[in-house]
Symmetry: C2
Subunit: 195 residues, 2 copies
Amino acid sequence: MMKEKLSAYLHAKARLSEDEMNQILHAFQEKKLRKHQYLLQEGNVSKQIAFVTKGCLRLYRVDEKDVEHIVQFAFEDWWMSDRESYVTGMPSNYHIDAIEDSEMLICDIDTFNRLGKFIQPLGDLMQSLQSKNFVTVQRRINAALSYTAEQKYQELLTYQPEILQRVPLAMVASYLGITRETLSRIRSQANRNLK
Amino acid sequence: MMKEKLSAYLHAKARLSEDEMNQILHAFQEKKLRKHQYLLQEGNVSKQIAFVTKGCLRLYRVDEKDVEHIVQFAFEDWWMSDRESYVTGMPSNYHIDAIEDSEMLICDIDTFNRLGKFIQPLGDLMQSLQSKNFVTVQRRINAALSYTAEQKYQELLTYQPEILQRVPLAMVASYLGITRETLSRIRSQANRNLK
DNA sequence: CGATTCTTTGAAAACAGTCAATCTGTGTGG
DNA sequence: CCACACAGATTGACTGTTTTCAAAGAATCG
């Protein structure tokens, strides 16, 4: 069931032979998390990549004052990993947990990279995802550095409305780098302006 | 002279045969820019990648109020391109110009990618640079979203002091997403605390 | 219901931005 | 060698936005 989802996803995005597809699917393991359960805890070195088939994961950092800062969400058909920890080989500064009951497929990153190297279409797909991700991230930097709270909210509405529809507002605020109170005020003001 | 710099750089970072090295060097063209001259202007589609051999380039966006927001600097031995415009194929929202008299080698991105695909060590190098860049960028997002102006400055001191040593403070401020006045006040206060 | 969890609202405080003036250093032309 | 212009940096007073803290109001779930 989970593997069928990944298979459908890969089928839609890359041209793979039956053999290649099986190789890839074979490398993944199923995993389920209930709401609030962890995939990764701070202090561990992360060597896994997850493909979400159901639910939603979040990647976040906790600062000195115990405030959470969400870096990324991952819904169905999205990939999630702590790339920073993987790249640096250092223990992770991040947590990954499920914000809904979720199902995912897990693969060791080294294994996955090897697959990407030997199976061209998979490598190309990953390359292209990285590029798209880069654009998202760059937009995010721009927003964080130069937008007001209100502009950040508008940008989210424009480019990632699915987040707003799916995630508690307190987490949206954390993702935007503002407080929940500020987000709440912006929204109520935006509503008033509509009328 | 410029090509020797690139050659030395590649030699240090990747194992390339003489033939491969020549292929790569051959794809690049020399270019010089005086201070304030443009490599890329907003509204164009960018298809080039630059390897800086001397001086310093900056990539920046200009907002509705004509305020500049610097996304990235590139000193000697750094790469610079407007990846967003390349990935999306849309006209660029960014400018690239020289903030010192600079020299660089230019290559068409498609050509360069093709080289990376056929010359494994080059592809691997680029992959690894992307990964490192990813970590930098992620740190930048964290800083932008959750740090005070002072913390951002401290982070820059720790992780990218070369920027501080090289670039006018007004540009440092723009890179940090704060005003030059605020940066100035932070610095004078930091000095006072030292005594 | 009762108990979390999530969201909203209000008032005060902190932080950074804006505007305007001044200061500093560097280089150029007389 | 001086004077002036210019770019960059600093300072002060004021304004505005966002955070903080505290409390209360919805919504959801067993």
